[in-house]
Amino acid sequence: MLSFILRRLAVTPVIVLIVYTITFSLTWLVPGDPLQQDEGRRPPAEIVEAMRKQYKLDDPVGFYVEYLGKASGVAWVLGTSTRPFDLGPSLRHRDWTVNEIIATGLPVSITLGLTAILLALVIGITAGVIGGLRPNGLADLVAQFISLVGISVPSFVVGAAILMLFAAKLQWFPIGGWGDIRFVVLPAFALSLPYSAYIARLVRYGMIEQMTSDYARTARAKGRSRTGVAMRHVLKNAFLPVLSYLGPAAATAMTGSFVVEKVFAVPGIGQHFVDGVVGKDITLVMGVVLVYSTMLVLFNLAVDVMYRYVDPRIEVS
């Protein structure tokens, strides 16, 4: 087990490096100029030139190497940088470093994403079990319909609709912003819908499949009730596909959803990424991508470890 984890951790930098290189090339190829402004007076040409030099925007290779060195902490180890994991200054928001931006936004996105994933698990498993117990019954049809809606209706529609209803009309929740738990509920719910729908389907199919398997039939023959078999024996096996889905799902949810964050004015990192791409804020884009890919790799590892823990028969090598 330990050697498995160590091996996986050892390849993590390689994966992240590949992601870094691809993202770097893409951001560099996108047209536009981070030093240009949408509003306001244009700085004199020599000032733009000076900034271009300062940030190495005229030298992609130099930028690539220097940024990689600082971001990975290598420069810090070698003593050429004063801080480890320095993701650089934001090119557009001049008072902030990318580290500060991510440090402010990431806890928010993690809170929102985790709540959404937990909600998705609760909603999804409940709906899936209900459906799996009595396939094609009334409850199943309702649950399936809702999960279809959850998958197919885009979250900006769901988001705007529940914002109008629960915050503006009924005033149960504040409209937008971030703070205590009341601010989390609506965006987390909006964010959780596609995940819960997917989980519901995974659980439902898993249940239906497992209920017809030999061990379930044996248990039934021994006199256990249908529900008893489902909860005691079948659910655990039906849950395994959910567990493998959980890794990437949690990573996606926790690194922020641009749409949900925008509709509910949640200050997470999802919108920073899109703003970064739009404004060609190269350092910000690179920083967010690095954090995201690292999280994705680590979550997948965590899921694999958990898999093994939940079902010891699985070989992790």
């Binding site: 100029d33 000076a50 936004g105 806890p107 985790l114």
Partner: protein, 619 residues
């Protein structure tokens, strides 16, 4: 049981993340902005909302009177203007202090102005100080010195420090800024500048606390440049001299300001704490304001805002006589609205479309040839005039833009500058438009509804470029396309481009007609007219006219203020009736949202220069 482990794992992370957050109680005044401040360093600002926040945190030498935008004392309690308008002596008030208790000195202003004039700072508004004796020369001197430094074989800390020493000496020896003592600041100008006080009220010329800024300065020996660390603008570190101090600033989330007890005029600061919250989504912003979570929306951008303004109109029409009586008795429009009964269904009073100090326009490419080296028909002013004459602005503001804008056929917004008379501008006249085009040699010679030149060649298909940033630009461009097609018989292709590509096209002159717009920075016509000066950095049109350049130069030399403004009127007439490099469409409208009875002190002067200290939420 094992199934519960993943849940517990997730719950643990959730609690960790939640405990990392510290919510705050509601501020006395909550302001919603679409975008976060880009910087709180006054000298590096260029966005209007940054400048507004700076007016809360910092105080300039002079400030603007809310009623007419005339300069009034700020940090300077009085000033003398001598030497035919070339020397300004400011006497700083003795009780002006920084938020750490230290006195604001004339040296702080010199320090801030020096930063603004250093090429290293990348200050967008360096140009405002080019009026100082030696200002422009110093800016270029430093640029030159850095360029030469970069070529040197030996570039180390010592060389860098020597260059900096030379720069400091060059500045104090050549730039017209002097501090006879800590409370006196003398500015010497190259030539009289009628609007110098207005420039000095501009937030980018706020003083900065020299010591705390200097603590974050370092030098890059490889380039010789001064590198300004950004940390001094962070909460707990930012030292300001204005009505407010910075308490908290969380990126793209909120900013918190508290009244600065050390501010000399603290008794007239009407609001204790201010929160500026960032809500990007236009619809969410409106909902927040409606529910009372936000007291003032500084820019309402919801797509349905024309309908919101129509509801406001309906409300005003409902109580037209009451409003007229109140207004006749000298009651402000907000007060009058606040006293009326609450709006009924389909009416509203919390949405305010206000004329701003900006003009929505289209640019003609004035270069002799296009970017593909084909001849450019718009090089001929008669063609530009023909296109301008064919535009029905009334229809555009009523049917297309629909925010109650004033149609504009001149570039300087009408009635926004004291003492300035706008020229008449060109009317909407289809017959005249066709005649102008014909005089330029373009006429429908074969009766197919399209114009040709003498050789029978069709008028080149017009390349009309707009940015996809907002549907407004698309709708406007389509409306213009139809008007020109119908009246002038020309073919037009409207090309929507992503903002970034659009800018590239503008820069490289890759257009015939392009969408544009401009907000003025100070209360003088030159803030708009300079756009057409041949060497101006914002002259996207490639418009070069020795006559117009000379008119601006002559006006700049004129000492008599009234005469100078009259000369600028002539210059604008030349620009807007003869030359038309720019085709104005309408004056920009900014849509504010606030309950007129609940928020007082909002300045409605077209320059919309809001000072936080003057705002108050009424209970």
């Amino acid at each position: 049981m094992r199934l519960l482990v993943p849940f517990l794992f997730l719950l643990a992370i959730l609690f960790l993340a939640l405990s990392a957050d510290h919510p705050r109680p509601r501020a006395d005044l909550v302001i919603a902005q679409r975008a976060d401040s880009f910087t709180l360093d006054p000298q590096r600002m260029s966005w209007r909302h940054d400048l507004r926040t700076a007016r809360g945190l910092f105080e300039t030498l002079v400030t603007l009177d809310p009623k007419n935008c005339a300069p009034q004392p700020g940090v300077a309690e009085r000033w003398d203007i001598s030497d035919q308008g070339r020397t300004y002596t400011f006497h700083l008030r003795p009780d002006s202090r920084w938020s750490n208790g230290e006195a604001v000195t004339s040296g702080d202003f010199v320090y801030a102005f020096r930063r603004a004039l250093l090429a290293d700072t990348a200050a967008d508004y360096s140009g405002f100080l080019f009026h100082l004796v030696g200002g422009e020369e110093f800016f270029h001197w430093r640029g030159q010195a850095l360029a030469e430094y970069a070529k040197r074989p030996v570039r180390d800390d010592a060389a860098c420090a020597a260059l900096w020493q030379a720069t400091v000496e060059q500045f104090s020896a050549t730039v017209g800024l002097h501090t006879p003592d800590d409370r006196t600041l003398v500015l010497t100008l190259k030539h009289p500048v009628a609007y110098m006080l207005d420039l000095l009220a501009f937030a980018a010329l706020s003083p900065v606390h020299a010591k705390s800024v200097e603590a974050h300065v370092s030098f890059d020996p490889s380039t010789g440049r001064l590198v300004q660390g950004h940390d001094w603008t962070k909460p707990g570190k930012l030292i300001s001299n204005g009505p407010y101090r910075l308490v908290d600033w969380r990126y793209k989330r909120d900013m918190r300001l508290e009244a600065n007890e050390l501010y000399w005029d603290a008794k007239n600061v009407r609001t204790g704490s201010i929160a500026i919250v960032i809500i990007e989504d236009a619809n969410t912003t409106v909902l927040s304001a409606e529910a009372g979570g936000v007291d003032w929306v500084t820019d309402t951008l919801a797509e349905y805002r024309p309908e919101m303004l129509a509801e406001r109109d309906r409300y005003e029409r409902h109580y037209a006589s009451e409003l007229a009586t109140a207004r006749a008795n000298g009651v402000s429009i907000d007060q009058a609205l606040g006293r009326l009964p609450p709006p009924e269904r389909g009416e509203r009073r919390n949405t305010h479309g206000l004329d701003s100090f900006g003009t929505d326009f289209y640019s003609f490419n004035c270069r002799p040839t296009l970017s593909n080296s084909a001849p450019n028909p718009f090089h001929d002013p008669r063609v530009r005039r023909a296109f301008a004459l064919a535009v029905d602005r009334e229809t555009i503001v009523e049917r297309v833009t629909r925010l109650g804008e004033r149609p504009a056929n001149v570039i300087v917004p009408r009635d926004a500058i004291n003492g300035y008379t706008s020229p008449q501008g060109l009317p909407f006249d289809r017959v005249l438009a066709r005649a102008e085009l014909e005089s330029a040699g373009w006429k429908d010679r074969d009766g197919d509804g399209r114009v040709e030149n003498e050789q029978g060649a069709l008028f080149p298909t017009v390349d009309l470029v707009y940015s996809l940033g907002s549907p407004r630009y698309r709708d406007l461009s389509f409306a213009l396309r139809e008007m020109w097609r119908a009246t002038l018989g020309v073919q037009i292709v409207a090309r929507g481009k992503e903002t970034k590509d659009f800018r590239d096209d503008l820069k490289h002159g890759h257009f015939m007609i392009a969408r544009g717009g401009w907000y003025g920075d100070y209360g003088d016509p030159t803030t708009f007219l300079d756009l057409s000066y041949s060497t101006d950095g914002n002259n996207d049109r490639g418009y070069v006219s020795a006559t117009f350049d000379r008119m601006l130069q002559d006006a700049a030399r004129e000492l008599d203020p009234a005469k100078r403004l009259a000369m600028l009127t002539d210059a604008e007439r030349f620009l807007m009736e003869e030359e038309l490099p720019i085709l104005p469409i309408c004056t920009y409208v900014t849509v504010y949202m606030y309950e007129p009875a609940a928020l007082t002190g909002v300045n409605q002067h077209p320059r919309l220069a809001q000072y936080f200290a003057r705002l108050k939420r009424e209970e």
